[in-house]
Symmetry: C2
């Protein structure tokens, strides 16, 4: 929770509510100057948050009211869905102006929101050089380093001195990116040789040569690299920014850590939702978007649930004779399903954090199998005892315990084997694995419990 | 996956395996100089990765072999569990040396690994000034800004010029943090007034006054602030670093984005594991650690599963008369449980991304209830039709459909209401909510299906 030394949470909330009301009123009154002044007085991230709090009608009205007075840095801070809606509601001239003002990576994000004809029309309105730069950017696939990078960065030849580099930055201030953390040292063919942190540049004498203080790169990022791998390198080497090279190894762009934080958050969210069988989710989703993101998985689950029912149906006559089996059956399925989900979550996390390579994979498989056995013994005894106290039926308790044991061991193995198999097949280990694991576990649970009951109790 | 333009993934893997073999051999042969040279030739993050690949015995042997030749920047890159083991295996003198070399936030992390007596003993070995600084750090609670910050940063009074600031940095190079991205402008009482990005400092004339180019802070971080809130501010305002102030508003430290990336990853991992009823997980976990992190949740689930069984037992005589109910019962529970998990994951994600405040919460509640109704209609018809085709029993299909509808609506509401209620009660909305949601859903599923069947079919 937010903790402010000088304000209680209530103050904070009521302040926000007042701002929201003021914005809403301004939009309803058509007070263009007032709304624009209000947004410009705030950090772009706060202004975009405030806009997102509006109802979707009021949001659209606000964008239409503002037109080219909607600050481009507010637009780019909006969450994807809102940005798309805003770009749609803006007139062409306003979009052109926005593209002019943004760094190349952000401008590309806006261009992506446009349909092909409108994009073409708007690109024609831009200066030829800007247009060419943006088109070069769009060549790269989405979710690659080429798309995430910006083309603005500071590079210098290795024979430059610190003083020369600083003077150069002063003279070319307008061409530099808004913010950057390091100078790239390049050879005449524009290959990056190393980097000098700005905090390093500051603390050495002006006549120091860049070649003498530059450090070797640890990151190794090319335009076609997937954003997940880029984010991994940022995390691993604690980077604030990193250079991007083209297929010939030439320096063509720079990626900064703020974009990577976004990617890390995105990848984490994807895993969390995928494990719960949701394709995508956002706070602004409509009912229709929610249904579309979830119903397909429920439909698959409908099929798998009836498969599990089919297993139960095999033992219809057993159930007919011993009604206690119907009462206890869900216990086996629920516990084993829970154990399978646990192993699955642990495995998906370990894969995401690259803890599942080589030896580590074998070690984890053994650990999960053994954990399944330990849990199997513990909970076989547990459920066996509870059912013994409840139904006073020794053989039934034994059958329940044995089925519980088998299901736990199976769940332990399925929880790790299914995501690893999906990864091996080139699929996302988080997507679909929970349906697989839970279905397999249900089948084993019902089959072992009812099967054993048929053999032992009848 | 890693994509290297010049090496195939196989090359990459076999290179790693060769390195691992070389390290293992070096450790077994007791080749201190060789192992040490090998690790020092790599980036600390790569060296620590390599050490973590060793079996736990070999890892300990490596640490003991290296002693004070284990580079402190490799030690600090190790994952928590490994770092703890390494610190334990190192002699006191080596730990003292490590503490000397590290920045204050990292040194504190190492100190935390020590038990109280050893920590006291080692603190006594340090220079009094270093000791006082570290003790001041340990005053702050874990997971707060005060613990995460480093005390090294660059601050300057507002009347200084750019030239003066750079000269100052050159003269005091040794006292500056290894890497930093901005200069804090302070008043005589050491209150931070604003900041100047290094990339800004570089591009303006030497005689520019800091007061004229400094920007106002958007972040607002005090020593006692929870790390989750700090990470939120970093994400929201795309920060590379931010100042930390004490209770009197004085500048006392700086937090950098690499630590926040770690926190973001940690918080995400916690949510993902909590939703699957796992307390904690790491690639290096033993079977015992796995059991400890999961068995308590399974035990709770054992109780809740028997509660659901108790509901079924209420309808024993109904089940005795219509065995098809036992066959279809799990379908209702499985589908409704899945729907509940979906809503739960969506809600936990929205809470984590601060999309659940004020109006947004009410909107989300309505959306989830409506989504439950839509899914309820769709899947009531779906399961009804399948069961009709299967059992050719109209009333049974109607009862199944009606129970499915009720369970879906309930699951939709529980999926959002349970985590929101937990948050309101001051608890973590991800922890325990899936046990609650699934149990409630099971109970409603069994009760509505068997209850309706008793009323309609008997």
């Amino acid at each position: 929770m937010t903790k402010h030394p000088d304000t209680t949470p209530e103050d904070h909330t009521s302040h926000e509510v007042r701002l929201q009301d003021a914005l809403q009123r301004g939009v309803l009154d058509g007070d263009r100057a007032g709304v624009s002044a209000m947004l410009e007085g705030m950090h772009p991230a706060d202004a975009s948050d405030l806009l997102e709090q509006l109802s979707s009608d009021a949001f659209e009205a606000a964008v239409e009211l503002l037109g080219d007075a909607l600050p481009s840095d507010v637009l780019i801070e909006l969450r994807d869905e809102y940005r798309e809606d805003a770009v749609e509601a803006l007139p062409d001239e306003a979009v052109v102006e926005v593209l002019d003002e943004l760094d190349s990576d952000d401008a590309t994000a806006v261009l992506e929101d446009l349909d092909a004809t409108r994009r073409e029309r708007i690109l024609e309105e831009l200066e030829p050089a800007d247009r060419a730069a943006l088109e070069a950017h769009l060549v790269h696939d989405e979710d690659t380093a080429g798309r995430l990078m910006q083309r603005e960065f500071l590079a210098a030849p290795e024979f430059w001195t610190v003083g020369h580099t600083i003077d150069h930055a002063r003279e070319n201030a307008a061409d530099l990116p808004d913010d950057f953390y390091e100078v790239y040292v390049v050879d005449p063919k524009n290959h990056a040789l190393g980097y000098v942190l700005l905090s390093q540049l500051l603390r050495v004498a002006r006549d120091t040569r860049l070649a003498d203080i530059m450090e070797a790169f640890h990151s190794d990022i090319s335009v076609e690299m997937d954003q997940e791998e880029v984010a991994y390198q940022f995390q691993k080497y604690s980077l604030a920014s990193a250079p991007v090279k083209d297929a010939e190894g030439r320096l063509v762009g720079m990626i900064t850590v703020d974009d990577m934080v976004h990617v890390i958050q995105e990848e984490n969210t994807e895993d969390l939702l995928a494990l719960s069988n949701v394709s995508s989710a956002d706070g602004s989703d409509t009912v229709w978007e929610s249904v579309r993101a979830r119903a397909p998985w429920l439909s698959i689950n409908l099929v798998t649930a009836f498969i599990a029912s089919g297993i139960i149906a095999l033992f219809e006559s057993t159930l007919d004779q011993i009604v206690q089996l119907a009462i206890l059956m869900p216990v086996v399925a629920a516990l084993a399903g829970n154990a399978g989900s646990q192993g699955l979550a642990v495995t998906v996390r370990a894969i995401a954090e690259r803890e599942m390579d080589g030896n580590a994979q074998r070690r984890a498989l053994i650990r999960e199998a053994l954990t399944g056995i330990v849990h199997g013994v513990l909970f076989a005894v547990g459920v066996g005892l509870v059912s013994l106290l409840w139904f006073r039926d020794g053989p039934l308790a034994l059958v329940l315990g044995a089925a519980m044991f088998a299901s736990f061991v199976w769940a332990g193995i399925a929880g790790i084997a299914v995501p690893l198999a999906l990864r091996k097949a080139g699929a996302d280990p988080a997507v679909a694995s929970s349906v697989f694991v839970l279905t397999l576990t249900d089948i084993i649970a019902f089959f072992s419990f009812l099967g054993l009951a048929t053999l032992v109790l009848l």
